[in-house]
Subunit: 403 residues, 2 copies
Amino acid sequence: MTLQGNAVIGQSGGPTVVINQSLIGALLEARRHKAIQSFYGALHGVQGVLDQNFVNLSLEETENLERIATTPSAALGSVRKKPTEDDCREIFRILQSHNVRYFFYVGGNDSAETAHIVHTVAEADGYDLRVFHIPKTIDNDLLVNDHCPGYGSAAKFVAMACMGDGQDNRSIPGVKIDIIMGRHAGFLTAASALGRRDESDSPQLVYVPEIPFSEDRFLSDIENVLSRQPNCLVAVSEGVADKDGTPILQSKEVDSHGNVQLSGTGALGDHLADLVKSRLGLGRVRADTFGYLQRSFPGIVSEVDAREARDVGARAVRAAVTEEAQSGSIAIRRIADGPDYASETFITPLSTVAKHTKSLDREFLNSAGNQITDAFRDYALPLLGGLPEMGGIKAPSVDAIKG
Amino acid sequence: MTLQGNAVIGQSGGPTVVINQSLIGALLEARRHKAIQSFYGALHGVQGVLDQNFVNLSLEETENLERIATTPSAALGSVRKKPTEDDCREIFRILQSHNVRYFFYVGGNDSAETAHIVHTVAEADGYDLRVFHIPKTIDNDLLVNDHCPGYGSAAKFVAMACMGDGQDNRSIPGVKIDIIMGRHAGFLTAASALGRRDESDSPQLVYVPEIPFSEDRFLSDIENVLSRQPNCLVAVSEGVADKDGTPILQSKEVDSHGNVQLSGTGALGDHLADLVKSRLGLGRVRADTFGYLQRSFPGIVSEVDAREARDVGARAVRAAVTEEAQSGSIAIRRIADGPDYASETFITPLSTVAKHTKSLDREFLNSAGNQITDAFRDYALPLLGGLPEMGGIKAPSVDAIKG
């Protein structure tokens, strides 16, 4: 007989614009199964469990669900917390007292690790608990997955931002540096060039964390572009590091997973802009750090991403109640490419996505390591659900009149 | 008989996402009038005139026009240049040699000043030239105008960005500082709060250049918010200055109109974030500088703004060829408020909008000067053409179980 009891869902890590699609996908699926009695939301992830800070999502107004689904950022609140073994024992005591038998955790690899720890301690304690991780990350760096929910929409924002900013930089020429999120993986920074139409289009240069960053090389690359045209837009990952792996610039702030703060400061952009100004002696050099808008801007959503985010939430609940597995992480596999793009979900053991991350394939970058390739375009474009078309003057020039 | 000849149009100053609507509005109107023979576009404004860098827009493919209209940033290229009297004489020599009798210049108050200078020298020289300024500025600071084309869309971007970022800041609580464009006028920064639903919603604090900025006051305002809730989003104009008018932080870079560089650096945000961290001893403090995305992000366009931007372009050409005036600036007057919002265009002398700017009305801010009022909401909301609705969990909490 199917395990009967209540369910808890939590959201963790950096939010995305589609993380609530996963929440609503899970909730709507749960309403179809009698095994789950009440579906609780833990406010701020495992911290909410520890504080018994639950809301009863089974009583949420149905007409409110679609509005929540299209609202950016974790509706239940998020957290960056890695529970200790003691925390986990307290978590079970609380889950048991609430007759919770299903635990769903939406997040990235840190969240998968949290789910893995919860699951491991549950097993050791002999507490019958289904634990499923639901993937989410704008970084697109989860192992096993072809790509991750949250990435397509963030990539769409970054691609569109660079298309617009490229127009701006062409209209008032100079060097423009855009700093893009991505601690270790360059997927999001690489997306900056997905709207690029030709060699002269922006961004002319792309720097990801996977390729050792050299300031000298960065400056000569820019000089090289400026020898051909007056404008140069450069996309740089916040996580770029030198050949020894030392980040070019970072703060000392660290969270409980050991992650260093990179976002929420303009320091790297300003440093690189100063470098270009002083070393190349250029006048108009600007830097923008896209910051939290990349993961939270309402309305810039890939339809493909929204659908897949909802699917992984639903699949986690379905897998749990149908006893397809006792625990696991929902993953995404691509089953068709190009205009026929299609994907499906499957279950992978929690340990396979926990803790570790993947990087951008080397074939996604050109040999110089400063621009994306068609292989990356083929991989990423279907995930964005379309990009706007940029127009431009095609009218012929008028002959100058000597006088 | 109507003055016969060619026309030149240029775009100047900081671009917007609807500046090409004005270009296409003017061009389509010109095609209806025989007085204008060829319609030239000057690449990069008056610099393009000086360089005889013209394209013949009369030969532009018609099916390309709407694509240009919806593309952000000046399709002809922009410039920040104040022509000298010598430049102006050279401009006339060139315009005359090309039989140009109509000169249209799209831009803000600096561009109106440029148009005014060109017009004044033309009159003194006895050269028969119609000179019209077409308004554009995300700063919304042109005199005479109820509001300016470009503002509604930039305001929509800022309002939406803060709605999303506010969700993000609520989901992972802390202090978040968002730096918003606006050298002297706080209209764009004030727009940050247009999506705010209640007192606890983001941004909780708004600082504009019109109100002297005090770091002590800023810190105590934040402490006050944090005494009521764990999250505080603060919108700060890049142009905030202390009681003596000294900007809190600025670079030394100045353009030929005497404008100091404020955008394209994260320095102000980082400074304020450091201040909050060190003086209030808070952990999670982040700052983002919205930067050039505010004026260039494709697709985040107010329909009202796009329509009005096209209207002012068309009106300039109509006014010139019908000899409604010899010169002038097209301005916008509001003729109905609220849900029935409507506006009309009229002609004002170039001198009335050149050089000087307007500020945010004091009644648009609360008595503390750190939040917008309903008066501002009534003024600005119709210009945005709607904002998305944010959802939130309404489900009841679950009683804690003591154990």
